[in-house]
């Protein structure tokens, strides 16, 4: 009897989760379709996109560059600790450059911005939902997706790759400086190593990752914030879920893109 009840509970749970997942998938797809439709209304989203881009770009610049600077320096110091005496010095240039461009630059920037931008977008849209501002926009015959979500997503797609590129540059420079001070590598050796294994595709790969990360760190929090329920508590919950979901998605995308684009 007890076993039967347990089976029933598990079935019910699985059924509920399946329905919830299907509902999220449907609503998320519908949101994406709405965004694509909204592209035609460029007079509405274009000025708002620039406003958002300026806001998240300037606002995130300091923290992104700070983290990239430390990441470059630490990579350099750890490489010195592990390889000193066992590999030629120019290899440090290779290790630091490739680590920053292929992984640390885009992923660290992505994770920081997922926290910063993701939390902000989910909280803003969530607050607008619970204070009926989104309903008000709809009641005026205007599309909340075109007015609120599309500019935020496009602003992310514009600024995140730019910030990632700046993070790559700062990470590379700080790694170079740290290598010079810790293992006394010459500029010529470092540059030789940096160029030896460098392929222009590496930069493209970094940018492709940044674009995918930007899409996930904007669309997911916007979606979660847009469908917020239950007042202030709901806004808090949406913000947390948005940051966790977009961070996990970034890590998953990182693995998938490495497998797809770096597979030899």
């Amino acid at each position: 009897m007890e076993e039967g009840a347990l089976t029933l509970d598990v079935r019910r749970l699985v059924g509920r989760w399946t329905l919830r997942a299907a509902s999220h998938a449907g609503r998320f797809t519908y949101l994406i379709i709405d965004m694509v439709r909204g592209l035609a209304e460029w007079r509405i989203w274009l000025p708002r996109t620039f406003e958002q881009a300026m806001s998240i770009g300037y606002g995130s610049l300091f923290i992104v560059l700070l983290v990239a600077g430390f990441a470059g320096a630490v990579t350099s110091l750890q490489a010195g600790y592990q390889f000193t005496g066992s590999v030629p010095l120019y290899i440090y240039g290779t290790v630091i450059t490739e680590s920053i461009i292929l992984e640390l630059g885009p992923v660290l920037t992505g994770l920081i911005l997922a926290g910063r931008i993701g939390a902000r977008y989910a909280a803003e849209l969530g607050s607008m939902r619970v204070t009926e501002q989104i309903d008000a926009l709809e009641s005026l015959g205007r599309s909340p997706v075109t007015h609120l979500i599309l500019p935020r997503v496009l602003a992310g797609l514009l600024t995140v790759p730019a910030l990632t590129m700046l993070a790559n540059i700062v990470g590379f420079l700080s790694g170079w400086l740290a290598a010079k001070s810790s293992i006394s590598i010459t500029n010529a050796d470092f540059i030789y190593g940096a160029r030896y294994y460098f392929r222009p595709f590496d930069l493209w790969y970094s940018m492709i990752k940044a674009v995918f990360f930007a899409a996930s760190m904007t669309t997911i929090p916007c979606y979660i914030g847009y469908y917020t329920q239950q007042g202030a508590e709901g806004v808090g919950r949406s913000t947390t879920v948005a940051v966790v979901a977009s961070s996990v998605t970034i890590l998953c995308l990182d693995t998938v893109l490495a497998q797809l684009l770096l597979h030899t």
Partner: protein, 260 residues
């Protein structure tokens, strides 16, 4: 004309509306009364398609609202002004831009001169000085926010006005100001209005007809006089409760006046 035909709505396990039918004739003001959580706002949101009924139909101007597509719904909404319970003003915009957003005709919306004139006119209509246009919602009192919300709702020259608890959260004096405003807009603009409220006195003052929503159903419909004369136990219970509140408010007001 607005027609609600046998609409029902359920949220998770609770039935909010159960077979509700109501007609609102052109030029008429109908007050939808009832205790909190009885589905008044849900009903109002169904009229302009913010929510869909699980069953039944909502017909506005002969259009079946639940069946409308995105574009048709946007066109219909352009003709319906909606006043939200707490104003629902956009925090990031000043009062002028908030009211301007209510101008639903895109040609007019792009015309700066027209917008400036229309926004000033709407602010004056709700007894606000046009100078308030530069302020942000956070700088306004509750009553002012409601009035700006009404100004935004009328900016697009709607044929219908839907008020969701226009006096809730306001002191009796400000509530009176809003009721006067609703009455005046009705006579000046000649719109068809639905006022959702649990304030009996205010509703009786502004409405041509009153409908009492009770436990998910329309319990009584009629002129204020007919509702007052009703022998229905639910109607009497609701009216008595409001009367008690009115006495308490009056007494509290007297105490404060004496204390001062």
């Amino acid at each position: 004309m607005i027609e609600l035909k046998h609409i029902s709505k359920r949220f998770v396990d609770s039935v909010v509306l159960d077979d509700v039918s109501l007609d609102v004739h052109d030029g008429e003001t109908v007050a939808l009364l009832g205790p909190s959580g009885v589905g008044k706002s849900v009903t109002l949101k169904m009229i302009n398609g913010l929510l869909r009924p699980d069953s039944g139909d909502v017909i506005v101007d002969g259009l079946h609202v639940p069946a409308l597509g995105r574009r048709e719904l946007a066109e219909l909404r352009a003709g319906i002004g909606y006043v939200f319970q707490y104003g629902a003003l956009f925090d990031s915009m000043n009062v002028h831009d908030n009211v301007r957003l209510g101008i639903t005709d895109e040609k007019h919306y792009e015309d700066e001169d027209y917008c400036a004139a229309r926004v000033s006119e709407c602010l004056r209509l709700v007894n606000l000085n046009p100078d308030v246009g530069g302020k942000f919602p956070a700088e306004l009192s509750g009553g002012m926010k409601k009035r700006v919300g009404i100004a935004r709702a009328i900016a697009g020259k709607p044929r219908y006005l839907l008020y969701d608890e226009p006096t809730s959260g306001l002191d009796p004096m400000n509530a009176d100001v809003i009721d006067t405003l609703v009455e005046r807009l009705q006579s000046e603009l000649g719109v068809t209005s639905v006022v959702v409220s649990h304030d009996v006195r205010g509703s009786f003052r502004v409405a041509d007809r009153v409908a009492l929503l009770w436990q998910g159903r329309i319990r009584a419909v009629g002129t204020p006089e007919e509702i007052l004369a009703s022998r229905d136990s639910a109607v009497q219970q609701f009216l008595e409760r409001d009367l008690e509140m009115a006495v308490i408010q009056a007494e509290t007001g007297e105490h404060r006046a004496h204390g001062a």
